[in-house]
Symmetry: C2
């Protein structure tokens, strides 16, 4: 007796582990203890199932983020805290999913870009709010939030693909240090 919520939960776990690329109903169903038949019964279509899973993932992002930079007193510290959170083990699966959505959006933006944007927005908002709180002037805070998030995305990408945590960590620290100096 699986409810739709339970199935969504279990499916998110499966998607975290196996990705969205080449996701197919039958292995997913087997993994969560049901059948492709019942997934379609509950969700109506594969697209709807994926939409529900991504929405759940989105809620997880907002919850898991907390106010990671609440105690940061400089842009440098904001970046350091953000990087710390992004590279934490429990964020790993989410980061992979996020980068997967990036790639899918590049090829089929109409279908995937909205989901990508929704996963990105909480980070961007929090960075921006924190920079504003640190008295970074408005226009500059907007540009800097984009730069910081994009840079951390690029670093995460490198880290996940190469697995060379030490080298990428050094680059992340160098980036944070760049923000210590004014201008």
């Amino acid at each position: 007796m699986h409810t739709r919520e339970e199935l969504t939960e279990a499916a998110l776990g499966y998607v975290f582990a196996h990705g969205l690329l080449n996701l197919s109903l039958r292995p997913l169903a087997a993994a969560v203890g049901t059948s492709d038949r019942m997934l379609i019964y509950h969700f109506g279509s594969k697209a709807r199932l994926i939409a529900d899973v991504l929405e759940l993932a989105n809620r997880r992002v907002s919850e898991g983020m907390g106010d990671f930079a609440a105690t940061a007193r400089t842009p440098q510290q904001v970046v350091e805290r953000a990087w710390q959170l992004m590279t934490a083990p429990q964020t790993d699966a989410l980061a992979r999913l996020y980068l997967e959505l990036c790639a899918l959006s590049v090829r089929d933006g109409a279908r995937w870009a909205p989901a990508h944007r929704k996963l990105r927005e909480p980070w961007l908002d929090l960075l921006h709010r924190r920079l504003v709180a640190l008295k970074v002037p408005g226009r500059r805070a907007t540009v800097l939030a984009t730069l910081v998030l994009d840079t951390l995305d690029g670093l995460m990408l490198d880290r996940l693909v190469t697995g060379d945590a030490a080298r990428v960590d050094a680059a992340a620290r160098a980036f944070a240090r760049l923000l210590a100096e004014p201008r």
Copy 2:
């Protein structure tokens, strides 16, 4: 009468346009004026065809790059030149392919990471050599090359997904400016 080289060339064009995700032989064959049968005949397998296409793409990268930062006199100018080249129209398809390989590597590194690394290496090498030529000390040049390339990758990703060239360009300029200040 298609030779293997001609087919590789045409296939690269198709991959640029349609991506590696869900690439299938029959539409590809139709687009390049042959049949799936003949693609297998010439390349032996789909995997081999993709390997050849990526190798060709790799040669295109090295050719197309030239010495984009030859006249740069500061790290800031290096970044500006690199960004200029990356966002040039003729690099667009290549950037999409590169980011696609990133995502594929995240999910199946054993299969895709080598191709990703080969596409990345020419950029990393050139950035590093240029930074060294600008008298950036050795260890710092290595870290900085990683940081610059990862940041530009992240910015490209944002640019390609959101299509908001103006906002991302502003962030790229801000990044270049960060490198203008010493330390």
